[in-house]
Amino acid sequence: MSVRDERLSRDGGARGGDRAQYGVCAFLALLGALVIVDALRIAPLTSSNDPIGPRPVPVLLGVALLAVAVVYGVDVARGGRGEPEGGEDVDLSTAVDWRTVLLLAGAFAANAVLIEPFGWVVSGTVLFWGAAFALGNRHHVRGLAIAIALSLITFYAFAIGLGVNLPAGVLQGIL
């Protein structure tokens, strides 16, 4: 759902004014509507123990979201804008580097898909190596070595040592 806003942000960013903020307003309004619709779907259920039931709170939040969306929209129309967050490794003078973001999200998604069938050691290696590659690492062999080492260390330390649930996957019996 938030992917839509990002696309809008690219369009708006190029034009100078931060019109992409209307995308955030639209998202807030849409979410507000969804919350209200979902709440109205619940059968009203009240008892002496619970005089208001499960419905009023979501309805209230939905209405508040719609209200905030409107106020936000008015603020944007008047030229208000939120400052993008800075940081040590953030250079805000550059345009958004979508290739890196998508590659990184891809490496992350690969981990989510691979973790059950192949196990943490394989999926974690793919995640680390892929993320480092996406972020500009060009020492492929060194990256892979660190990735495998980290995956193995965390698997032994946390899954076997501390009893955290990390799947062994295809390497079941080998590790």
Binding site: V3, E6, A20, Q21, V24, L28, L34, V35, I42, L45, T46, S48, N49, D50, I52, P54, V57, A64, L65, V68, V71, Y72, G80, R81, G82, E83, P84, E85, G87, E88, D89, V90, D91, D97, V101, L104, A105, F108, A109, A112, I115, W120, G124, L127, F128, W129, A131, A132, A134, L135, N137, G143, I146, T154, F158, L162, G163, V164, N165, P167
Partner: protein, 495 residues
């Protein structure tokens, strides 16, 4: 002195080998994440939550407290040696600290930050010992309507005081409250916003939300605007201070502590406001105010003390009322719940050993941090040279491991990515993230207290008003909400 005996017992407990090890691990990990960009104490505690489920809760909290205090020390190293601060609480430190470092006084800046943090942390922890039981005595008389009002105050305070834009703060808060709504309603058993996905019936775990918004969101955001040429790190030797530096530092340390502790305990004030106030105070009081802006040691000593004192102040409402005022405290509150411990006024009565050992570990952690940070500052500074691709790949790696470990379901990794995208969008549009985290964690409790109040009044809305305490809190909330309008009116009528 009943509390003194308890505290002494706490010291005896904390000196056991297992607890000592946890305290040491905590302060080392805390300093490391404080120094490292892209990862902070709140996220680290969230990541460690699933890993520590099997541990004794006391040890887990000693670990978390060490990380919290350590993060405050580490953040100052980054802000002094690298102009851009690691944590929002050390933004002010970087103003004078980095100027000092550039003028070749990095060692003195680091020394006044570390020693000031120790002084402030120790005094503030003493204040914590004295004040917490008093707050508990007050809090024990509070009923459901009062708690409901206190939580509403926390919501409003974090939304309106952080960042410049109130509407963006409220947008963030509402997003958090909606995320907190997902799952089965505890009172009636009805599913809300689960969209028919069975795994969502238990709601989205706080760990997944915190890690997604902080870690994944930060990694994606950095990826979008990666600084290709790394900012220069100023090399530094072993920190030390001359007699003149001591003379100029001790008053700012004490004043910073006095400002930091009370503000840390207030919802929404956090560490940003007291560090700023301390900076302004020192600038006004300094005999050589012309040095400000060119590396005045008072401008490092005061804010750093305020920063650490506010961390101790944060623990007062957290332990006494169950009210978090910073992101780290919010995650620690979630940690209490995952151990089945109810934070709030009864905590001190039911779990005295846990609370007093935790407090004793704060004194110990502070001492360990001073020892770790003074001689080892150059070693910590080396962490800043980690190649960024590896750093952020590692953050994502540990983020997915921690999130997966909560429920062992791949869906959590998908949620983590979606929340990461949300965190990305929030950073892009300048929406503060703290209101969201507070909303997720306090939202369900606020609803529970609100419904409990209405139950007592039989559904009559006047039940929410309760007694004098809640009425006073509503007055404060109203003040916070209408203040900018009053200010605008006054500014207009008095030309």
């Amino acid at each position: 002195m009943d509390n003194l005996t308890h505290l002494l017992d706490g010291f005896v407990n904390v000196l056991s080998p297992g607890n000592l090890l946890m305290a040491l691990l905590g302060v080392v990990a805390g300093t490391a994440v404080g120094v490292l960009p892209g990862i902070g104490p709140a996220m680290t505690v969230a990541l460690l939550l699933p890993v520590t489920y099997g541990m004794d809760p006391t040890q887990a909290f000693i670990l978390f407290a060490g990380i919290y205090y350590g993060g405050m020390y580490g953040g100052s190293t980054t802000s002094i040696l690298l102009n851009t601060p690691g944590e929002s609480s050390s933004v002010i430190t970087s103003i004078e600290g980095n100027k000092m470092a550039k003028a070749g006084r990095a060692a003195q800046a680091l020394a006044t930050a570390a020693i000031g943090s120790f002084v402030a942390g120790t005094i503030a922890t003493l204040l914590l010992v004295l004040v917490t039981p008093l707050v508990v005595t007050f809090a024990i008389s509070l009923g459901a309507p009062d708690y409901f009002a206190i939580m509403l105050l926390a919501f409003v305070a974090v939304s309106v005081t952080l960042g410049s834009s109130r509407v963006r703060g409220f947008a963030s808060l509402l997003l958090g409250l909606v995320i907190g709504l997902i799952g089965i309603d505890g009172v009636t058993g009805r599913q809300r916003l689960t969209l028919g996905i069975p795994q969502l019936a238990d709601g989205i775990d706080v760990v997944v939300v915190a890690v997604g918004i902080f870690a994944v969101g930060e990694a994606l955001w950095v990826a979008a605007h990666m600084r290709r040429t790394a900012a220069p790190v100023i090399p530094v030797g072993r920190p030390w201070m001359g007699a003149e530096d001591w003379r100029r530092s001790w008053r700012p340390w004490l004043r910073g502590t006095a400002l930091g502790f009370p503000f840390g305990a207030l919802p929404g004030a956090g560490a940003e406001i007291p560090t700023f106030l301390s900076y302004v105070t020192e600038k006004r009081l300094a005999r050589r105010s012309e040095e400000f802006g060119h590396g005045a040691i008072e401008g490092v000593a005061g804010p750093e003390a305020a920063n650490n004192a506010s961390a101790a102040g944060t623990l007062v409402p957290m332990l006494a009322i169950g009210l978090p005022t910073t992101a780290t405290a919010a995650v620690m509150l979630a940690a209490f719940e995952s151990y089945g411990i109810q934070p709030g006024p009864l905590l001190l009565e039911r779990q005295p050993a846990l609370v007093w050992t935790l407090i004793a570990s704060l004194f110990l952690g502070n001492l360990l941090l001073l020892v770790l940070n003074l001689p080892l500052a150059p070693a910590w500074a080396k962490l800043l040279r980690i190649p960024r691709p590896y750093l952020y790949a590692g953050i994502l790696f540990f983020a997915s491991m921690g999130a997966y470990a909560v429920n062992s379901q791949p869906l959590d990794l998908v949620l983590l990515l979606l929340l990461g995208l949300l965190g990305f969008v929030m950073r892009r549009f300048g929406l503060p993230v703290l209101p969201l985290i507070v909303g997720v964690i306090l939202g369900p409790r606020a609803e529970l207290q609100g419904r409990r109040s209405l139950q007592l009044s039989g559904g009559d809305l006047s039940g929410l008003l309760g007694g004098p305490v809640s009425i006073a809190i509503y007055a404060v909330i109203a003040m916070l909400l209408v203040w900018p309008f009053i200010k605008r009116y006054v500014a207009r009528s008095a030309p």
